[in-house]
C-alpha cells in the first residue's frame, strides 16, 4: 500500500456544526457571564467526553492537562472570541493560540465543536498520516494559528499577533493559553516584557494553573509563586480566578480596562471532571483503560 492510499483527506468545514457555532457563539458572547455559564458548562462536558474517546482511540495523549484546560478553551472559543470556521484565515478573526500544544486533543475537540472540521475525524488522532498530529499544525488543521508543542512558543507568537492588530488599528483580539509548568520557559517572560512595553491591551494570556507538570508539582520542581505578583511586576493587569467557573472565566476574558495586557491566572485541577484522575501527577499522559474510560464517561454524564 502506498502512503497516498492510506493518507487521510484534508480537514474541511463541517457546515452543520459551523452554522450552530456561529449562531450560538454570537448569542453566548452577548450574554452576561452568569447567563452564559450553564451553556458553556454543558459544552465543556461534551468536550471532556470527546477528549476521553479521542485519547482512547489513539491510545496516546495528555489527558490530565486536556481536562484542566477544557473550560478555558470552551469559554474562549464559544463565549468570548469571534472565530470563523467558514474562513479560518479571515484577517479580522480573533486569534486563539494554545501554547501548551501537548493538549492537542482538547484543542481539536473544541475546534471540531466549532465546525472547523467534522467531529468524527477525532478518531484519527495521531493515526498514521492523519492531519491530527500529536501537536497542532496550522497547515493541516484549520483554526490552528501557529504550530506549538515545544513549550514557550505560543506566547511570543500571540504577542506578535496582538502587536500586528495594534499596528493595523484593527479591533480583533488575541487570547493565548499557557501551561503553568510552561512559565518556567524564559521565552515567556521575554514576551511578557514585550507585550507590556507595547501596551498590548488586545492581548490576554491565560495560565492553566493546575500546579502539576510532567514529573511533579510545579512548586516542587521550580516554584512559580507568587505567580500573580510576577505578572503584575511585569506590567500586566492580573485576574486570578477559578478556572472551572465559566462565569468567572468569561468575566476574566473581558477586554482590558487599564490599557495594559491582561494575565488570567486560572486555578484549575489537572484531570478535572474525572474523580480518579484529578490532581494526580501520573495522569499527565497516562492512557486510561477501556474500563476507566467507561467510568469516566459515566461520571461526565451525571
Amino acid at each position: 500500500m502506498t502512503t497516498l492510499e492510506i493518507a487521510s483527506p484534508p480537514l474541511q468545514l463541517d457546515e452543520d456544526a459551523a452554522a450552530v457555532y456561529v449562531e450560538q457563539s454570537a448569542r453566548l458572547r452577548a450574554l452576561s457571564p452568569a447567563q452564559a455559564a450553564p451553556e458553556l458548562a454543558k459544552i465543556s462536558t461534551r468536550i471532556r467526553r470527546d477528549v476521553l474517546t479521542t485519547i482512547q482511540a489513539a491510545q496516546m495523549g495528555h489527558v490530565g492537562g486536556d481536562l484542566s484546560v477544557t473550560d478555558l478553551l470552551v469559554t474562549a472559543m464559544w463565549g468570548t472570541l469571534q472565530l470563523d470556521p467558514y474562513a479560518p484565515d479571515n484577517p479580522l478573526r480573533d486569534r486563539f493560540v494554545l501554547s501548551k500544544g501537548h493538549c492537542a486533543a482538547a484543542l481539536y475537540s473544541t475546534l471540531a465543536s466549532c465546525g472547523f472540521f467534522p467531529q468524527e475525524r477525532l478518531t484519527e488522532f495521531m493515526a498514521p498520516l492523519s492531519p491530527l498530529n500529536g501537536h497542532p499544525n496550522r497547515v493541516k488543521v484549520p483554526g490552528v494559528e501557529t504550530n506549538t508543542g515545544p513549550l514557550g512558543h505560543g506566547f511570543p507568537v500571540a504577542t506578535g499577533c496582538a502587536l500586528g492588530a495594534q499596528l493595523r488599528g484593527e479591533a480583533w483580539r488575541t487570547i493565548v493559553v499557557l501551561g503553568d509548568g510552561e512559565m518556567q520557559e524564559g521565552s515567556n517572560w521575554e514576551a511578557a516584557m514585550t507585550a507590556a512595553h507595547y501596551g498590548l491591551a488586545n492581548l490576554t494570556a491565560v495560565v492553566d494553573r493546575n500546579r502539576l507538570q510532567q514529573g511533579a508539582r510545579t512548586e516542587d520542581t521550580k516554584s512559580l509563586e507568587p505567580l500573580d505578583a510576577k505578572w503584575a511586576s511585569f506590567g500586566w493587569e492580573v485576574r486570578v480566578i477559578d478556572g472551572h467557573d465559566h462565569a468567572a472565566i468569561k468575566q476574566a476574558f473581558a477586554p482590558s480596562s487599564t490599557g495594559r495586557p491582561v494575565a488570567v491566572v486560572a486555578n484549575t485541577i489537572k484531570g478535572k471532571g474525572v474523580s480518579f484522575m484529578e490532581d494526580r501527577v501520573e495522569w499527565h499522559h497516562k492512557v486510561p483503560t477501556d474500563e476507566q474510560v467507561r467510568l469516566a464517561l459515566e461520571e461526565l454524564s451525571r
Binding site: 514557550g152 506578535g160 492588530a165 521565552s187
Partner: protein, 317 residues
C-alpha cells in the same frame, strides 16, 4: 592581498540592505523590521526615523524576536527580522524551526555580520555555524548575497517569495562582482567566469576571492570556472552537475563551518550523481584571536589558498 584588491572599491552590504528595505517599505505597508536592540548594527536607524511604528524592537530577547515576527506574519505583515547572525540563528533556532519554518510563515530572517565579521570579538560573536543550522531546518530558503547588487535583489526577492527565508548579509566589505542585468531567481546560481579545468563555487564574501583565485590559476595555465552559488537552499543542482560534467574538480569556498554548509550541500549532489574530486574550503573550528582579514588568511580563505586547493584537487600540487 594583491594590489588589484587594494585598488578595488569595497562595500558594506548592510547599507544596501537597509536602503532597499526602506525603499520597498514606502510602497508596501506590509513590510516591518523586527530587531533585538540591533537597530544600529543593522543600519536601520534611518528606517526607524522614517517608519517609527514599523520598526519593532523587542530588546535583547532572540526567542521573542522570532516568535513575535511569526505573529506579525500571522497578522498579515512581512517581517524582516534583523539581528546579528550568531544570536539570531543559535539562540532562536527552535523558534525558527517551529514558529517560522514548520508553521510555514513568510518571515525573512536577516543574519547581520555573519561569518567572522566580528573578528577580534571571538567565536561567541562569529557566525560560522548559521548555514549549517539553517540547512538543517526543513523548508528554509538560504540566500547569501555576494555584493551590494545581490543584497538589494535578495531583499526584493524576499518580500515576494512568500515562504520562510534566511538572508546572510555581509558586513566585511566586498567588491561588486555581479553584472548589472543578472537575473535573481530562487535557487539560481550565476556563472561569473567560464573555465574547463576546475570549478570554484563560492558564496558571499568569498566570491570576489574566488575570482582573484581564477586569475592566479590562469597565470599558472589552469582554466577555472567561477560560480556564485547565491542560494545554499535550494541549491542550483544543475549548475553543480554541469561543473562536475564540464570540469575535472570542484572547490567550494565559504566563510563558514565546514560541517554542513555550502561544501556539504555541493558534495552531496556530486557524491550522489557524478563523483569528481571536491575540496571544501571554510572554517574548520573556533577561530583564534584576529581581525576578519587576518582570520580569512589564517584559514586559507584567500586567492592563494583557493588556487592551492584547486591545484590540489586537480592532482597538481
Amino acid at each position: 592581498m594583491t594590489a588589484v584588491a587594494e585598488r578595488t572599491p569595497t562595500f558594506d552590504c548592510r547599507v544596501d540592505f537597509a536602503d532597499e528595505l526602506a525603499r520597498l517599505a514606502r510602497a508596501d505597508e506590509r513590510i516591518v523590521a523586527v530587531c533585538n536592540d540591533s537597530v544600529g548594527s543593522s543600519n536601520l536607524v534611518k528606517f526607524r526615523e522614517e517608519f517609527p511604528d514599523r520598526l519593532i524592537n523587542v530588546g535583547i530577547a532572540e526567542q521573542d524576536l522570532v516568535g513575535v515576527a511569526a505573529g506579525l506574519a500571522n497578522a498579515g505583515f512581512v517581517p524582516f527580522v534583523s539581528a546579528a547572525a550568531p544570536f539570531l540563528t543559535a539562540r532562536a533556532l527552535e523558534q525558527i524551526k517551529a514558529d517560522v519554518a514548520y508553521s510555514d510563515r513568510h518571515v525573512v530572517l536577516c543574519g547581520q555580520s555573519p561569518g567572522m565579521a566580528y573578528g577580534e570579538l571571538g567565536p561567541t560573536h562569529h557566525s560560522i555555524e548559521d548555514l549549517s543550522w539553517m540547512r538543517a531546518v526543513a523548508g528554509m530558503q538560504i540566500v547569501v548575497p555576494a555584493d551590494p547588487l545581490e543584497t538589494r535583489s535578495a531583499v526584493r526577492w524576499a518580500v515576494e517569495c512568500g515562504r520562510p527565508s534566511y538572508i546572510r548579509i555581509p558586513r566585511f566589505k566586498v567588491p561588486a562582482v555581479t553584472p548589472e542585468d543578472t537575473p535573481f531567481e530562487t535557487g539560481r546560481a550565476t556563472r561569473l567566469v567560464d573555465g574547463g579545468d576546475v570549478t570554484l563555487i563560492a558564496i558571499g564574501t568569498m566570491v570576489s576571492r574566488a575570482l582573484d583565485a581564477a586569475t592566479l590559476l590562469r597565470e599558472q595555465g589552469l582554466s577555472a570556472r567561477v560560480v556564485n552559488m547565491t542560494f545554499v537552499e535550494p541549491l542550483d543542482v544543475a549548475e553543480v552537475l554541469a561543473a562536475a560534467h564540464d570540469t575535472r574538480a570542484i572547490v567550494t569556498v565559504e566563510e563558514g563551518l565546514l560541517s554542513g554548509g555550502l561544501g556539504a550541500a555541493v558534495a552531496r549532489v556530486v557524491a550522489e550523481h557524478r563523483p569528481v574530486p571536491v575540496r571544501m574550503l571554510g572554517v574548520p573550528t573556533f577561530a583564534p584571536t584576529g581581525s576578519t582579514s587576518f582570520l580569512l588568511d589564517h584559514f586559507g580563505l584567500n586567492a592563494a589558498g583557493i588556487a592551492a586547493a584547486a591545484r590540489e584537487a586537480l592532482g597538481r600540487v
